[in-house]
């Protein structure tokens, strides 16, 4: 068991290094660099940057050195906990990401709880009452939820919220708390703003999860062990919840690996539409501006979280599935 875990950890570490290299290379791939983007930005607003200035900027950020030297310098600093300066914001990367990270986590976890809380009971119901009218209704809503892009839904809700209820939807804070330091009032304000973005973010996931849960459970409900449990005299709801639902939930443990990066990045487009101060929009902006260290840090963070998430899934599966535990003793 320990050997298994250690092996997983080592593989995870190798993957993280590979991710850091790949993400660095990908960020470098588009023609030009931050200074080019900076210059074109300035010239769009009418001012000019001399060749000399550009050169000194490049020197300052080390952009004139070969790629692998840049990568080496970046990684040495990352290991020491210094993620570098954001070129665009002119502040340390950690500071720029700062609060946004926590807000993203709060919004995403709310979305996940909502997704699971809505989808799993509906999925179970749909499978147990397959081809009933409510099952068809949920199937219809589910497919509609899958088909409608999330950002469109966000726009529609914002529109109706504004025209019908005179609500200004969007953001996570009211104007007066936007830049205020943390206080109980601000937390309350956040909680009041949370449900809508969480709902929009969870919608597509909910629709998908209903379908998956229904399909998984339908598979399990046909298995002989369900009939066996019934033949023992177990009440129907206990039969369903103890045996097939337990088996149908198992595959979800392996999706935790993908949930973790989602928790941090959130849904980029929806966050942009709802103007949520989360990490997603920040990443988008950093990539457009070719703000290497900021984009690199976020991408690296997502990669590391994917690896950690996958590792956690493996541990959880090991914990909840006796067959995997047994397989490891052999």
């Amino acid at each position: 068991m320990l050997a298994y875990i250690l092996r997983r950890l080592w593989l995870g570490l190798v993957t993280v290094v590979a991710i850091s290299i790949v993400s660095f290379v990908i960020i470098q791939l588009p023609p030009g660099d931050f200074v080019d983007a900076y210059i074109s930005n300035l010239s769009a607003s009418g001012s000019m940057v001399s060749q000399q200035e550009a050169q000194s900027l490049r020197q300052q950020y080390g952009l004139d050195r070969p790629v692998w030297v840049q990568y080496g310098k970046w990684m040495t600093k990352v290991i020491q906990g210094d993620f570098g300066m954001s070129m665009e914001w002119g502040r340390p990367v950690t500071e720029v990401i700062g609060d946004r990270l926590w807000l993203t986590i709060v919004v995403s976890i709310a979305a996940i709880i909502l997704t699971w809380g809505i989808a799993l009971p509906i999925g179970i119901f749909s499978a147990v009452r397959q081809y009933s009218i409510p099952d068809y209704a949920f199937t219809f809503v589910g497919f509609a939820g899958l088909a409608v892009p999330n950002f469109l839904l966000a726009l529609i809700i914002m529109y109706f919220g504004f025209t019908l209820f005179d609500l200004k939807i969007g953001g996570l804070f009211s104007a007066e708390y936007q830049l205020a330091p943390w206080s109980y009032g601000k937390v309350g304000d956040l909680i009041a703003h949370l449900p809508l973005p969480a709902l929009v973010l969870s919608l597509a996931g909910t629709a998908q999860l209903i379908r998956i849960m229904r399909a998984n459970l339908l598979d399990e409900l046909r298995r002989p062990y369900v009939t066996t449990a019934r033949a023992r005299g177990l009440a129907e709801w206990r039969v369903v919840l103890k045996y097939p639902v337990r088996a149908a939930l198992n595959p979800f443990a392996s999706t935790i690996g993908y949930l973790l990066p989602f928790v941090v990045s959130g849904s980029i487009v929806v966050s942009l539409v709802l103007s949520l101060p989360t990490v997603g929009p920040l990443l988008l902006r950093a990539l457009i501006a070719q703000d290497m260290f900021l984009a690199g840090t976020i991408v690296l963070l997502l990669g590391v979280l994917t690896v950690i998430g996958t590792f956690l899934s493996d541990l959880i599966l090991m914990w909840i599935d006796p067959r995997i535990r047994a397989g490891m003793h052999e």
Partner: protein, 337 residues
């Protein structure tokens, strides 16, 4: 002879999927006596398993017990008709496992892999007996011992996938016996096992039957198993019992052409070398394409044109316990105009 502990009368179980009606059980009748073994035999798809599941009312949707009586005699002499009880009611659940235990064909997939066998055994015990967790565990160990599982104290914490097929089937029997039922239904209990294990499982069932005065319904397509285990036999074809009687009568004086054909198709060590094994001509008709008249007539060597394909034969009593459903032994009621 004592009163039957279980009497099935004209049991009808239909499946009604959207495509049509499958008449899985179409008027089956038989009796089970205390301590006796009733063998139900027939080809695959003749309705044996659905009959057994109908008794416990655990037929999967869209199957439904449509009519008939399933009379269970209780210890106090009272009789309940299981066909009339709502299958979801507590009363029905108490009978499942409590009065009638059920052993399934597939020991591999009939146990959940997510819980230890002890967990599932204790659940079965505690469903029907008010005992503490500790007592239930003790009982689970005893049950494993009863079915001949070595080192039961350790095996109680094992998962089903850690056991061999034979041991799993023993666990299934232990599960069926958890609440000390008076009737055990064994639905092809040895089909999925290899030959030596088959014999062991049959021995086990017989031993427990003797020890506990259990009445057993043994469902199989194997005439050899019937000869070894059963004292009465019901031969089923397409949802109907076509012949029933004491095992000696069925084997030595079979009357229905289907029973005769089934017996001819048993391989024998006395057979002429290099001779072909007799088979029953044709195959079981498609569930939606049921023949008119006697369901067996298209495959029957002695079928009478104009009679067998027109009228459904009725049951003829040959003697006190031997009954047959064939026009050769009595005029069908519908034809007697």
């Amino acid at each position: 002879m004592a009163d039957p502990i279980l009497s099935v009368r004209d049991l009808v179980t239909y499946f009604r999927p959207e495509e049509g009606v499958v008449r899985a059980v179409d008027g089956a009748s038989f009796d089970l006596y205390p301590g006796g073994t009733l063998g139900i035999v027939g080809e695959s798809g003749c309705g044996k398993s659905v009959t057994a599941r109908s008794i416990l009312r655990i037929v999967d949707r869209p199957g439904e017990v449509e009519s008939g009586e399933i009379l269970l005699r209780r210890d106090d002499g009272g009789i309940v008709d299981l066909a009339k009880i709502d299958p979801r009611r507590r009363e029905m659940r108490a009978i499942r496992g409590g009065d009638i235990g059920y052993v399934f064909q597939e020991p591999m997939s009939s146990l959940s892999a997510f819980y230890t066998i002890g967990n599932q055994l204790m659940e079965a015990v505690r469903l029907h007996r008010a005992v503490t967790t500790k007592e239930a565990r003790q009982r689970a160990v005893e049950l494993l011992q009863l079915v001949g599982i070595p080192r039961p104290e350790q095996r109680v914490d094992a998962y089903s996938f850690e056991l061999s097929g034979g041991l799993r089937q023993r666990v299934m029997i232990a599960l069926a016996l958890a609440a000390e039922p008076r009737i055990l239904i064994a639905d092809e209990p040895t089909t999925a096992l290899d030959v030596t294990t088959q014999a062991q499982i049959l021995d086990l069932i017989r031993r427990i039957q003797d020890e506990r005065r259990l009445a057993v319904i043994l469902i199989t397509h194997d005439m050899g198993v019937i000869a070894e285990m059963a004292d009465t036999v019901a031969v089923m074809y397409l949802g109907k019992v076509v012949e029933s009687g004491p095992v000696d009568a069925i084997f030595h004086a079979p009357r229905h052409p289907y029973t005769q054909a089934l017996l001819r198709s048993i391989p024998s060590v006395l057979a002429e070398p290099r001779s072909r094994l007799a088979t029953i001509a044709g195959s079981i008709p498609h569930p939606y394409a049921r023949p008119e008249g006697c369901p067996f007539h298209p495959r029957c060597a002695r079928s009478i044109a104009g009679v067998c394909d027109r009228t459904v034969p009725v049951v003829t009593k040959l003697d006190e316990r031997h009954e047959v459903r064939c026009v050769l032994y009595g005029r069908p009621a519908e034809a007697a105009e």
